[in-house]
Symmetry: C2
Subunit: 389 residues, 2 copies
């Protein structure tokens, strides 16, 4: 059937036709934020399902931005690919339609979006470990190291996703570094932002990171791994929404998650800072040890046995990740898509102070990522010190 | 029509049907080396044409290696793509058939294969400059810098070439570094080769270069740019045979050409060394200045104006290129596809000495490429010094 945006009744009709629910009475509720997708929660007896359908445009801050529906197909392909390697952390997909650009999948309403939960004071004791394991497994198993170059190229072909890569490129690596219309710069932050825009060394390093992002096709990335793309409870973690999936650098997802753990400290910095630093530690250690174990057990490349090589690979991943984390910290502070972690701080002076901190931390991570060969090097960074190096 | 390997009469019939020659008498001669392709030179009156047809296997040293015919299509696509940006250096394509895996193109028999010419004492005063210009233009114009990420991804899709990438990976980055069956190790060289195989730092760096080769999709590469893929005269240069074309790192073609200029010095090292070093200088300077000029005039990325960025980009290209050159020097000395520049040295002691030199030079380039920020740094390398660094 040709594409048209579903109503709630259409959504019910479709899952009924597919035999995913029976003839019993059913209800559907549209729960998406409406920016890129329709999201219907369907309930029929004890059965609960999500039907997610892509919209052919992105409604963002007063403009209409046409977007390929192909991303819906890529998203469900990626969900199924990731589920092969990290089953417990990926929602189940029951059906997908290429033409109508929808996917029917597991309902996760017993869990909570992590950003929302953290802001409400929830704790997720297993989150860092789960995401570390998820990323090590999905990145390793979709890379040349596991698939070999021929197998990897076959998988990579399915993830031709230029529209969404272009959004990332513009919003993360370009717009925040000059006076772009899309930016959201809070009053009081102008001087800091001017300083950023005049920092030629910073911009050169950001350009290098952008080049890595668009040219380094190492593994199938989630592509948008922030705390709003994760559902969790105390014991469970599910990573959703990989519509930005494409073959890119190992460090990108890793860096985005690190940046959003940093953001999660800002609402109550004195109290939360240590917890979030511990989360980042746990996340990286889980990632690195899982990746190393997979390398030793599963890598197909003849060079996998060269001593020290996996440590070099991990050092590069870490350095790239810190650079990408820095870009994410800056763009979510002054770019198009601000984070609630900062925006919901009520006291204006505190909010400005935290935003300044995010900009400084981002700058340091970008400029000095080369000094971090191991994660403990990162601990030695004092963001209050001179940034002119 | 379904694929079948052509006879000479088939080749004539096809170009006649295409209207590329008239009804006059025509002759065809098969002049390929028969390893991967049939190459017919067709003559009809004053008209001369080449019809090149892919074979579905690679005959290499006693084994039959099945190969996708798709590479013929990729080759003619690449010829046409490169011709857009570097017209004088690319043979004209008149017709191509996807199904029958052949291409009809300009005959270049007024020129000579550069490796053969150099071995016979020819000089090509414009070669280094021409190849520098060709590479700067083809690499720049097929990169994100010129096409933007969306346009680049569209072009890159056509160059899905896993079979041929796999050959490169095995023959350049893997087999020469362990006791593979495909190697050709001349008697007398065993100790040197053993030393190479025990050099863990070297193997780690080769593994990193291999990873760059398979993951860094910066530009459309020729993929096999040695002196046997270039036709030239004193005034003209044509680069043929891009059947290994794929999206890879800027430095790969650059490095292969540098390696083969090094090889070209070996037949008469005392006399030729300085000429070849000057060629490498000219080649790199032309490449770098052309690339910089294109960057300033034609780059579409907003970050192109960041001061110093193009110099950083060129430093990285140079370092990658030197590493790839090192790998090529080693594999053509002890791997599956030896070069006549070394093999045709008649005196056994001299031949062994030059092969040892090639292995040492390759090792130094791979291990110490990081020290070369500019091309003059390379001049300071003394390959006789301690290699243990």
């Amino acid at each position: 059937m040709a594409y048209q945006a579903f109503t709630e009744q259409d959504a019910i009709k479709r899952v009924r036709e597919l035999g995913l629910i029976g003839q019993e009475e059913a209800t559907a509720e549209e729960i998406g934020d409406g920016n890129l997708n329709l999201v219907f929660r369907i309930q029929a007896g004890k059965e609960r399902l999500i039907l997610k359908q892509a919209l052919p445009y992105a409604k963002v801050v007063g403009e209409s931005w046409p977007l390929s529906l192909e991303r819906a197909w890529i998203e469900q392909l990626a969900l199924k690919e990731f589920a092969k390697y990290a089953t417990p952390f990926v929602p189940r997909v029951f059906h997908a339609s290429h033409e109508e650009a929808y996917t029917v999948m597991e309902d996760l309403s017993h869990l909570q979006i992590v950003r929302t939960g953290l802001l409400a004071g929830e704790t997720y004791p297993l989150l860092a470990e789960h995401v570390g394991s998820y990323l090590a497994r999905t990145l390793f198993f979709t890379s040349d190291f596991a698939l070999g170059p021929v197998g990897k190229k076959q998988v990579a072909r399915d993830y031709y996703n230029p529209d969404l890569c272009d959004i990332t490129e513009k919003l993360i690596f370009t717009d925040p570094f000059y006076d772009a219309e899309t930016n959201n710069i809070e009053s009081g932050l102008e001087t800091d932002v001017q300083q950023l825009w005049q920092d030629e060394k910073l911009k050169r390093e950001v350009a290098k990171l952008e080049t890595l992002f668009i040219t380094k096709g190492e593994a199938l990335l989630h592509g948008d791994l922030h705390t709003g793309s994760i559902f969790a409870s105390a014991g469970e973690t599910k990573i959703i929404d990989p519509e930005f999936a494409f073959y890119g650098p190992f460090g990108f997802d890793v860096g985005q998650f690190i940046a959003h753990l940093c953001f999660a400290a800002y609402p109550n910095y004195a109290e939360l800072r240590e917890t979030r630093v511990k989360d980042i530690d746990t996340f990286w250690l889980t990632f690195a040890s899982t990746f190393t174990a997979l390398w030793e057990r599963e890598a197909v490349e003849p060079f996998r046995t060269v001593p020290g090589l996996v440590d070099d690979v991990l050092s590069t991943i870490l350095q790239d990740a810190l650079g990408f984390a820095g870009c994410e910290l800056i763009r979510r502070t002054i770019g198009l898509a601000p984070v609630a972690d900062l925006e919901q701080i009520e006291d204006a002076a505190t909010r400005l102070e935290r935003k300044r901190h995010a900009l400084r931390l981002g700058t340091v991570l970008i400029k000095r990522r080369g000094e971090c060969k191991t994660f403990t090097d990162l601990r030695n960074f004092d963001v209050t010190e001179e940034l002119s190096r």
